[in-house]
């Protein structure tokens, strides 16, 4: 079992993940926040692209589950000596790992790697493709905020697409280059939320008539109807063409400041997958406001990733219950 795309998740898996997440949040509050679930297992983070949050939280999650973790970075590996991706993966496979957490600048890499290895492959971001684990963190954050299931009475009769039913989420910014957006559009919709894409026309993908989303180029037109504003960073490293005239024009039209936050209303919340660019897609006041769930997202990243690893270990067999 691999986790390459949000499409790999069944309704039962969402439920199990939310349940496990609650359990691991509790584990995190213990004096020794560690369980033996993955004792004897080895996890390798294989990152061909820079990362702070994702890598740290996966390694922390592995350690708290008692797995051994090893870490591979493109810049310090034999890749810089000309070794191919194929050989790198073969090498890790020969060393013997149970989980490969892969990040790469090219879409489709994780699924390709999955064809080359015995290990369970987890996509930690593939170019503009998908980022399913970030998506599950965001879903868990929203479910805890808006659906509040508790571990004892996690309502298994409640169908998964009711969890966030009626919730209106605007994903704002560079959707075109965002793997987080591609995963979240599917995941939020699976949970019953209504997604609206907002941004300059050059940063909203074409040919998305079949996507379950509304599109609006004017943030001010839709902001007051929204419950959640999910902000994206401009992925400047993924394009070199002129998509918007200037960051100033971008922030004036699509950036979130206190005036716009006020129109969102006091119950509205702000999310962002990070890293944030203060002064561009949101002001510091907004980022640090009580309506921001940005740090909640980070807090949930370890228990959710523990939940993902525990679930996959069970599915591939051999996890210690």
């Amino acid at each position: 079992m691999n986790l390459i795309s949000v499409d790999d998740l069944t309704n039962e898996m969402y439920l199990e993940l939310f349940g496990l997440t609650e359990m691991f949040i509790e584990v995190s509050t213990r004096p020794i926040p560690k369980v033996p679930t993955l004792r004897g297992k080895t996890l390798a983070t294989v990152f061909f692209e820079n990362s702070t949050r994702t890598r740290l939280s996966f390694e922390t999650a592995a350690k708290r589950l008692s797995a051994d973790s090893l870490s591979f970075s493109a810049s310090t590996s034999s890749l810089s000596k000309g070794e191919s991706l194929f050989d790198t993966i073969n090498t890790l496979d020969a060393i013997g790992v149970d989980f490969l957490v892969v990040r790469h600048s090219r879409a489709g890499t994780a699924s390709m790697v999955a064809n080359w290895t015995q290990a369970a492959v987890i996509n930690a971001g593939d170019g503009c493709g998908e980022h399913p684990t970030q998506s599950l963190i965001d879903c868990a954050t929203l479910v805890r905020r808006f659906a509040k299931p508790d571990l004892e009475s996690l309502d298994r009769s409640k169908t998964i697409n009711k969890y966030l039913s009626g919730l209106k989420i605007a994903i704002v910014g560079d959707v075109l280059h965002s793997r987080v957006a591609r995963s979240n559009i599917k995941a939020f919709t699976n949970l019953g939320a209504k997604v609206t894409l907002v941004g300059p026309p050059t940063l909203i993908p074409d040919n998305i008539e079949s996507w379950p989303v509304d599109v609006c180029y004017d943030l001010d037109q839709v902001i007051s109807e929204m419950d959640v504003i999910y902000l994206l960073r401009m992925q400047n490293e993924r394009f070199d063409e002129s998509m918007v005239p200037s960051t100033l024009e971008y922030s004036k039209n699509w950036g979130l400041d206190m005036a716009r936050l006020k129109r969102l209303g006091p119950d509205g919340v702000i999310m962002h997958p990070g890293p944030i660019n203060r002064g561009v897609e949101l002001t510091s006041e907004v980022a640090d406001s009580t309506q921001s769930l940005i740090l909640d997202q980070v807090r949930h990243s370890v228990p959710v990733r523990m939940a993902i690893l525990a679930m996959l270990a069970n599915l591939i067999g051999g996890g210690h219950e």
Binding site: S84, L85, F86, H104, R106, A107, G108, T109, S111, M112, G127, C128, G129, E130, H177, R179, R182, P205, D206, N207, I208, S210
Partner: protein, 443 residues
């Protein structure tokens, strides 16, 4: 040179089909008629139930030599071509170094002399295919080159292309364009459409092809030059060709088997063998291209045979090389498509036509027309009659076979048609009077 008698087949010359035996001696067809007697020392080939026609001519073949011999050589491409029913291949000049001088043309010709089928050379339009200044077009023409292209890239500079077309009017040369406006296409990997947006893969919009096709049509109109559009992939490009013909522009165009049968839907799994340039477009484009083939808007089917070593296809999709092999599957794919409307497992592309019409269309678009465009119709492309050079193909229209990449003769295995069942099989190929493929196998 051995003599050959092809017995009991139906000889195809365009739409003209006649049951006749064909006797070949000393590289020429010397007799054609029913129930010919078998001279002594003559090898007899049974062609009962088969079609006999002039060998296929491929306008667009990347033979990779020199520079990329790990992927293909002139020798291996010619062998693959023979197995695919081709008796003439036009070698593309995007080698390293590029074929952009009479010396390079001569070098390729010397290697080609040892190949099992005829190899013609396409010369580069610009020096080193850099798109900066014209290559020695007349000197290459004197060395026998009739068709020029920077294929792999389009000539971006409009003034330079205008000059190339103007220059080519003398000698009736053909300027063949790989239509791709670089500023729209660079950095893209698949068709700009539903799939690229869904997968987050940067894309090549159809307009990259269409804008350059339209520009070149206008430049050909201005100069009166002969323009050939390589691997047309969109319905709008066909409309541009129709408009050009209405204006009296001397334009021809080709389509590949893969652009007829495969679409962006085949790219969803990011199989590197589906990565090609121009990219696979939409099913609607496939269907309109098929109509263009049936109504004569498209002159020729060309393979754009583009072998790549496995290492160049064992990468993340966006890092993989563009290109598919095609020589050994082209006839089967086209004949299956024409007679069955599609290939098993793929979407329906066209209303099937009957076998006799289909073989006539195959002869016209895969042998006769490409021979004319390549300037070799004195040796290739038929008609098959007494005195013709014996470049002959025998195909069995009823034989079915399943493509197995491991059994193809090309040095590279990057076919997008692996495991597909095709109807219509190359049985014998005779190149310059010599039997080079017998019963589907190279001799």
């Amino acid at each position: 040179m051995s003599n050959l008698l092809i017995k009991g087949g139906t000889v195809v010359n365009g739409s003209d089909l006649v049951v006749a035996d064909v006797l070949i001696e000393d590289g020429q067809v010397i007799e054609l008629g029913p129930q010919l007697g078998q001279p002594g020392g003559c090898e007899s080939l049974d062609a009962t139930g088969c079609y006999v026609m002039s060998g296929l001519v491929d306008l667009h073949c990347h033979m990779r030599e020199p520079g990329f011999e790990e992927s293909e050589t002139i020798e291996t491409a010619a062998r693959a071509g023979a197995r695919g029913g081709y008796t003439c291949l036009v070698a593309m000049p995007n080698t390293v170094p590029a074929i952009d001088s009479p010396q390079m043309v001569e070098m390729i010709r010397q290697k080609a002399d040892r190949a099992v089928v005829d190899v013609q050379v396409a010369g580069a339009i610009t020096q080193g295919r850099k798109g900066e200044c014209l290559a020695e077009i007349y000197e290459m023409a004197k060395a026998g080159v009739r068709i020029f292209t920077d294929d792999g890239a389009g000539v971006q500079d409009s003034r330079l292309m205008l000059n190339a077309l103007r220059y080519s009017v003398v000698g009736d040369l053909v300027m063949a364009q790989h239509c791709e406006e670089a500023s729209l296409a660079t950095g893209g990997h698949i068709n700009d459409g539903v799939i690229s947006s869904q997968l987050g893969i940067s894309s090549i919009p159809r307009e990259a092809e269409e804008t350059m096709a339209y520009r070149d049509v206008l430049l050909a109109k201005k100069t009166g030059a002969r323009l050939h559009l390589l691997h047309v992939s969109t319905s709008n490009t066909l409309d541009i060709v129709r408009q050009a013909r209405a204006w009296g522009v001397k334009v021809t165009c080709e389509v590949t088997p893969h652009h007829l049968l495969l679409s962006e839907d085949d790219v969803v799994t990011l199989n590197p063998d589906m990565k090609v340039n121009p990219p696979l477009r939409t099913l609607d484009d496939c269907r309109k291209l098929a109509l263009g083939l049936l109504d004569g808007t498209i002159d020729a089917v060309a393979t754009d045979h583009a072998p790549h070593h496995i290492d160049n296809k064992t990468q993340p999709f966006e890092d993989c090389a563009f290109g598919m092999t095609g020589l050994e599957t082209a006839f089967g794919v086209i004949f299956t498509l024409l007679t069955r409307g599609t290939v098993s497992g793929k979407s329906k592309i066209l209303e099937p036509i009957n076998e006799r019409e289909a073989i006539g269309l195959v002869h016209t678009t895969m042998s006769m027309n490409p021979a004319k465009i390549a300037g070799v119709s004195n040796q290739q492309g038929g008609p098959l009659r007494c005195g013709a050079l014996a470049n002959v193909l025998v195909v069995d229209p009823r034989a079915s076979w399943v493509v197995d990449r491991t059994k193809l003769s090309s040095k590279s295995k990057n076919t997008p048609f692996d495991r597909l069942e095709l109807f219509g099989k190359v049985i014998h190929t005779i190149s310059k009077g010599r039997l080079v493929v017998k019963d589907g196998e190279l001799l």
